[in-house]
């Protein structure tokens, strides 16, 4: 009984979702335009939630911006023009893949710089270790052998 009620509730909920997405689909019956909208939305950050694209976000601003993109696609504007429209209003931050330029140099170059730094440190460490091993890993002198034997026999007697 409980399960049936739950199932019914789920069905109702999903029809609600279908109804609203059907409305969105009707706005762009053209599958090519819809595909472009999807692709563009994935390139753009939702500034309200910041870590979501406007394709994923349900924030109001994301809904508005999707509507705006749809309108621009209908007006025959190119993808470049649409992205430019967003950048002139919201800045480079709106792009999920920020352009490479002076202010974003650290962002793009940072990981590579860290990698190089890590490699340099690793190589230097390995070299020093090799040197240390090379200088220390030599046969014992007669004197040292005697001391080692003395220590070992001392340990045996205990």
């Amino acid at each position: 009984m409980m399960l049936r009620a739950l199932f019914l509730a789920l069905c109702l909920a999903s029809t609600g979702a279908v109804a609203s997405s059907a409305k969105e689909a009707a706005l762009a019956a053209d599958p090519v335009a819809e595909k472009r909208l999807q692709a563009l939305s994935k390139e753009l950050r939702c500034l309200v939630c910041q870590n979501e694209t406007i394709a994923d976000s349900n924030a109001e601003l994301a809904v508005d911006l999707r509507r705006e993109i749809r309108g621009m696609i209908a007006d025959g504007r190119s993808d470049g023009e649409i992205l430019n429209f967003m950048v002139t209003r919201y800045g480079d931050f709106v792009l999920y893949r920020p352009p490479v330029k002076g202010t974003t140099l650290l962002l793009w170059g940072g990981p590579i710089a860290l990698l190089v730094l890590g490699l340099v440190v690793l190589v230097r460490y390995q070299r020093r270790r090799a040197e240390r091993v090379a200088t220390q890993d030599r046969p014992l002198t007669a004197d040292e052998t005697r001391r080692a034997e003395a220590l070992l026999s001392e340990a045996d007697q205990r």
């Binding site: 409305k23 500034l47 309200v48 109001e60 508005d64 919201y90 480079d92």
Partner: protein, 194 residues
């Protein structure tokens, strides 16, 4: 000894980096509009809805544009500061009411005709100003939020400082605090008023 020094140094650098990162405000995104001409628009005026307002009307003097809405909680926080400002300072303060009805989230917009939304927006905005005080020379009604997109609005309240030539000189996202007003906006206005 030397090795411990390195590890400690790296750790200290990391601490500094993270401390700076924590101190930054992720909402504080530099606006590309600063230094650009204010976007043009023509919107109905709240007090006289059959008339429109456009930013070109304020050419020749610096002015402020404050984006607000009655559903915006932080707007209530900054509002007394704006009311005080308007009493003390002779700089036009223009309100941009952003998505008064549809931004509220409590309405099913598919069931609300445009004319109905407009009436409701005017009524709600007027009521809010009557209740909290009206610091604005006038409020322009951006009912569908299109003008807000041209301004790159993403978090109400937002405030723009515009100079005599109609160039945006500063944008502040979030509520204005007495500190921001005194240390950033007022000095800028003094400079622009010369």
């Amino acid at each position: 000894m030397n090795r411990y020094f390195w590890i400690l140094g790296a750790f200290a650098a990391l601490v500094v980096l993270l401390a700076v990162g924590l101190g930054l405000n992720p909402r504080d995104i530099p606006s590309p509009l600063v230094g650009k001409p204010v976007p043009t628009f023509k919107l109905a005026v709240l007090s006289t809805p059959d008339k429109t307002f456009g930013p070109e009307e304020l050419r020749g003097k610096p002015w402020l544009l404050n984006v607000w809405a009655s559903w915006c909680v932080s707007c209530r926080q900054e509002h007394p500061i704006l009311v005080q400002f308007s009493k003390k300072v002779d700089v036009p303060l223009i309100g941009l009411n952003y998505k008064e009805v549809r931004g509220d989230g409590g309405f099913d917009m598919s069931k609300l005709p445009a004319e109905e939304e407009r009436k409701m927006a005017l009524q709600r905005a007027n009521q809010w100003l009557a209740q909290h005080g009206d610091p604005y020379k006038l409020t322009a009604m951006d009912i569908d939020g299109r003008v807000g997109i041209d301004f790159g609005v993403y978090g109400v309240p937002e405030t723009y400082v515009i100079d005599k030539e109609g160039i945006i000189r500063m944008k502040h996202t979030g509520p204005i605090t007495p500190d921001i007003l005194a240390k950033k906006i007022m000095p800028l206005l003094a400079e622009l008023g010369k």
